[in-house]
Amino acid sequence: MTPFLPLLAQETAKLEMSSMPDLSRMLPGGLLCLMVIVILVVDLVRGKGPSALYPKLSMGAIAVAFLMVLFGTVKAGAVGYGGFPSLDPDALSRIFKLVFLATGFVTVLFVERSRQAFGREAEFHVILFGALAGMCYLASATEMIGFYLAFETVSYTGFLLAGYKADDRRGAEAGTKFVMFGAVSSAVMLFGLSLVYGFTGSMQFAVIAEKLAAAGSQPALVLAAIFVFGGFAFKAAAFPMQWWCPDVYEGSPAPVAAFLAVASKAAVFAAGLRVLTYGGVSGSAPALSHLMGHDSSIVQTILICSAVATMTWGNFAALRQSSLQRMLAYSSIAHAGYLLMTASVIGTDKLGQEAMAGIVFYFLIYLVMNLGAFYVVTLMRRDAGTADISALRGMGRRHPVLAVSFAIMLFSLTGLPPTAGFVGKLQLFWPVVAKGYYLLAAVGLVNGAVSLYFYAKPLREMFLAAEVEGEETRLAPDGVDLAIVTAFAVPLVILGLFGWGNVTQMAMDAVARVP
């Protein structure tokens, strides 16, 4: 006990004297954490039962946080205690935070619109805020412990959200699979991290990167890299950890699936980009570089192999789905593949920076188009009680606005011009091609062509298939629903036609300050 107290005093003095962390830079995350408590308290005070208060409260809080991030100044430099910097709320994390918060906002909105009795209303919001806070920290974590804590926070809240609906067998099953699979993945990652720590003797990514660069490729490091990647792959729903994804997305409520598909994936990519640009792309593998025709590192090899497998798996398996929700799950896997493909070429050079900006940019678009598509699923499950694609039959005639908007989203997901998805795909493929990975890009393009088939399926049902008498679509969107889908569809077209300069510049700015 004795040696501890002077130490404490000493440290406290240091803290007061010099680098009192600028807490304002931690504010959005702090606000989210605060909201967890606020809602718990409100729930305690109010007692059980549904209330219209929570959604309003949540949306308001998220909006405030969003604005704070959007208008707050960004200062580079990690925040941390006593020579142990652990969070860096830089431009990269800022843009991802915007993605998380926007997704969170939309998720609350969807839940509200889904008119689904969630039962323990308050808890849902508590968990959601927990998840958002975790994501915000994950996007700016610069060392292992903070990273791991944030990572697990995002995971656990995700498990809970997926398995939230206690009265639904599918939901329960989804939660079980998610939690089991997540736990195993994180264990695998943790084992990898422990090895990395062992070899480098540091928790700081920056130090680790330096040490690894000096170490070159050693078998144990290769093993560690693969294990660590396993954890990332789980969150990103990438091969070989994609297994949970279809079952969980299908079993979860549609808004939750939307949240997982966008925010959760974005969070892990945010962390991944940070890790990669801290010099994680280190060491070289002569045999592989010979195989690939280019100089490539272990990490790059892993990313490329996983990218190819992921997009192929996702696209092909999606072909046979009849549930739109499950199809979107596979589509989400496929998109993880495209993103990994581009992630494999990021670096400090110009094209590497463009690749990184491309990924950031794609998330901005993916946010819009994927959430929009999940909103259609939400409506289907709400009105028709099923996510089966055939429920869309005849929608083109009955609800043309909805159908056309959804069509735009699907075209965007496929990557056809003149939608934003095309611009996004272009930014994903461009650096890959420009760096000379023609084969990889070709695999991507073939996959893009395959994806056309299954994205065309809802189109066919909506516009082409003849309606059976008495089996007309039961979708009954009201004005608000139409306004929401239109709000998702219109930016896709506008962005596809005009605005990409600004948005892309935003993405470029976001990655520019990453060391």
Partner: protein, 511 residues
């Protein structure tokens, strides 16, 4: 800055919201037709302004050019460049005319006319844009913009197998555009520009050197296949009969009249001038494909029982002449090919309209079930004869001049075995007569095979307005082709000149 091209391209797009001005189908039809007419007039304006600037004006120096920065991301620079040379002007005028005529033909659409015309006008914008875009990326965007409305127009307003046809069309075309895009990006990566005219000027810098020979060939092959699907050249043609047959009449007209031309246009604008040496090297393959298309299309057309399918296969045959003419790299052949594109636009459009007129009345297209129309419908027969004999290559109509020039060019070409290919190709002339005459015999001659529920009647006034201009234009071009040739010949001469050293070098190597 001259905004005529932009205006022309986007007038149809701007017309789409107007369709919501009224819920009455009649008003919507009028709106669509007027918008198309305005676009047509603007296409004539483009023509006259281009003429005023001098017909020899090359791409990049026309006063109609608009060049603005559009998308600039890192090393990725796309410009909004719209520009024309003689060949694009020629195609733009064709698009204008057929666009107007097909909009009239669209009056027959009963099911959701508003949706139909909205898609149709979008398609029109895409077509104009494709012909006037002088930035590769812009070109590609317009190219893809056409795809979407086409998919719906076939898939929603088509015949019984429309879904199948729409998706087949979509996938074939998409494969083509993916190949095309790959080549575009590779070229961009090399030259760092999307400007079509600049790439043409600097084509020697595209992966130069003997060590890149195969790569260049692959790129040329990709571009060629991308465009060949659109043309369509055997064996990439199988989407065409189905799409043509299932598409509603106005869309068949546009498909045959304008969309097929984009393949030939793309070859002229991109594939060939970028890779002149590869064209010369690939000549035997190109010529074989062209000749096979000509003859194969004719033979298959001969065996059809469905009237529209016969016309569709005749397109395969006729577009084979376009490829043959282009591949000869002689001024005669290329002039012929460009003229054939225009002429086929008129005549194929006309033939599809003719079939459509009868289909609307009889509700079937089985040739065996018609017969004796010459007796019952003499006026219809007369106008039909213009279309069909024009397609057969009768002198005095445009098809003759273009086919003739293609053959003159092919025979004159210095490329190996050009004469042999020409001789085989002329078999297509005979076969062309065979299938057209068989069809005429089945439909128009003899006596009626069966009584139709409603007696067939002569075309309506609207249908005459569609058919007559096409017939007159075809006749006019057949008698006085100068009007076209004087415009395109200078451009084509400088186009073909680029290939001369490559042909010579190739001949040298052959020795």
């Amino acid at each position: 800055m001259d905004w005529t091209l932009t205006l022309m391209t986007f007038v149809p797009l701007a017309g789409i919201p107007l369709l919501w001005a009224s819920n009455e189908a009649k008003v919507q039809r009028w709106i669509a037709t007027i918008v198309s007419a305005v676009a047509m007039v603007l296409s004539f304006v483009v023509w006259s302004r281009f003429q005023a600037a001098g017909v020899g004006t090359a791409l990049g120096s026309s006063p109609l050019k608009v060049d603005l920065p559009w998308i600039s991301v890192g090393s990725f620079n796309v410009r909004y460049t719209m520009d024309v040379d003689a060949i694009s002007v020629f195609m733009v005028v064709l698009t204008g005319i057929l666009g107007f005529i097909a909009s009239l033909s669209g009056w027959g659409v009963q099911k959701n006319p508003r949706g139909f015309f909205a898609m149709y006008l979008l398609l029109l914008t895409g077509m104009f844009g494709t012909f006037v875009a002088a930035d590769l990326f812009l070109f590609y965007v317009f190219w893809e913009v056409m795809l979407l409305p086409m998919y719906f127009l076939i898939g929603l307003w088509g015949g019984p197998k429309r879904e199948f046809a729409a998706i087949k069309f979509f996938i074939y075309t998409l494969v083509g555009s993916v190949l095309m895009l790959g080549a575009f990006l590779a070229v961009y990566f090399q030259l760092g520009t999307f400007s079509i005219s600049e790439i043409i000027r600097r084509h020697a810098e595209i992966f130069p050197g003997a060590e890149n020979e195969n790569l260049r060939m692959v790129l040329f092959g990709a571009l060629f296949c991308g465009f060949a699907i659109k043309v369509p050249v055997f064996p990439f043609h199988t989407w065409l009969p189905l799409a043509h047959v299932e598409a509603p009449t106005p869309i068949s007209v546009i498909l045959a009249g304008v969309l097929l031309k984009m393949g030939g246009y793309g070859m002229m604008r991109m594939a060939f001038p970028w890779f002149p040496d590869e064209v010369v090297r690939a000549w035997p393959v190109l010529a074989t494909l062209a000749v096979v298309s000509i003859i194969y299309g004719a033979f298959v057309a001969m065996a059809q029982t469905d009237w529209k399918k016969l016309v569709a296969y005749s397109s395969v045959s006729h577009m084979g002449y376009v490829l043959l003419g282009l591949a000869t790299l002689t001024p005669e052949g290329v002039n012929g090919a460009v003229l054939q594109m225009f002429s086929h636009g008129l005549l194929a459009g006309m033939m599809f309209l003719l079939v459509g007129v009868m289909y609307d009345q009889a509700h079937h297209r089985e040739m065996a079930r018609f017969g004796g129309l010459a007796t019952t419908l003499p006026k219809y027969t007369f106008i039909a004869m213009v279309g069909f004999f024009g397609s057969l290559g009768l002198p005095g109509l445009s098809g003759f001049v273009s086919e003739m020039m293609v053959f003159f060019g092919a025979f004159k070409s210095a490329l190996p075995d050009a004469k042999l290919f020409t001789i085989i190709g002329t078999l297509g002339v005979v076969m062309g007569a065979v299938y057209i005459l068989i069809m005429i015999q089945k439909i128009f001659l003899g006596t009626a095979k069966e009584a139709h529920a409603h007696p067939l009647h002569e075309p309506s006034a609207r249908e005459w307005i569609m058919l007559t201009p096409l017939a007159v234009l075809s006749l006019f071009l057949g008698i006085y082709p100068r009007i076209a040739l004087d415009m395109i010949d200078p451009a084509i001469q400088s186009w073909t000149k680029e290939f001369t050293p490559h042909i010579a070098a190739h001949a040298e190597k052959g020795k």
